[in-house]
Symmetry: C2
């Protein structure tokens, strides 16, 4: 069973956690809400969705997961101030396993300094920050460039989920053929 | 009477509008809440403070004001997506009159592309975005570099206000001695 970590804290874009988390779980992936501390209740910016963090960032290793998802809202701007989260993202990036970021999610990738030379998308307001970080911003519903999957906004969630699944399946096929 | 425009929209850090706006008004400055549209009710991220925008960005000219203030919270990330606001900030910057940004306020300066070569401060999470934009991030309560005044967070508001006043007074002295 493939494992996917959702890196989230308070103020996340409700639907950007709820829909991918539920859908990927339904499809048989092991989805895990990872926060800065374990067992903490976190609430979306619209107050519609609440989760309890299942694991803390300190308790996980990059080997534990096949992909990570970084939902948007105000959550990425908070997570980027947490050194453990930033270090985990940077180390996970080096494994070449998929990192999927939507909306403001790329803010965390900017701080982890893994965007240089990558094509990606994200929420319109941070396009300039992505470009200044050495990324190449594209205004597409989903962009896959090597191990970074990115989408702009809630409207893109279906394509975002499809891309996560296809990249995870690709990894599986590569493993099987190896 | 010196005029100060506060560039603000929904989700501003309540105290970063309320305190400087009230204090500067008390001291005899003409303070004006400028939004993307006129007469719109805007509310802070903590829901504690509500203002009605007094002027729209389209209705003002750079000659109308002696300084602009960009409070933080979620407001600057929204304003940076508004072309009129971004263009106004860029044009105002060229006049060399003071621009005072606090917390996430520098996000708007990044999009206006006026930070290159400037020393400044701001909310910790955007330090990397400031550096990537060519700015030199300092972790000080207030930084004044030429016409950009900046502070990090609500705690710095007293120094932030003092710096705005001193820069406005300096401008006045320069005018008187000219």
């Amino acid at each position: 069973m493939k494992k996917i970590a959702f890196l989230v804290t308070d103020g996340f874009e409700d639907i950007e956690v709820k829909v991918p988390y539920s859908r990927l779980k339904e499809l048989g992936y092991k989805t895990v809400i990872v926060g800065t501390t374990e067992g903490r209740e976190i609430t979306g910016k619209r107050g519609k969705v609440t989760y309890r963090t299942e694991l803390s960032i300190e308790s996980i290793k990059k080997e534990d997961f096949d992909a990570i998802v970084i939902p948007g809202g105000y959550s990425p701007d908070k997570l980027r101030m947490n050194k453990e989260v930033v270090d985990f993202v940077r180390e996970f990036y080096k494994t070449n396993k998929p990192i999927a970021a939507i909306c403001h999610g790329p803010q965390l990738l900017i701080t982890a300094r893994v965007l240089n030379g990558h094509q990606l998308t994200g929420w319109e307001s941070i396009a300039v920050d992505i470009e200044n970080a050495g990324g190449d911003y594209l205004d597409n519903s989903v962009v896959i460039d090597r191990n970074i999957i990115s989408s702009r906004k809630p409207h893109d969630i279906p394509q975002f989920i499809d891309a996560i699944i296809s990249e995870l399946d690709k990894g599986e096929k590569e493993e099987l053929s190896a």
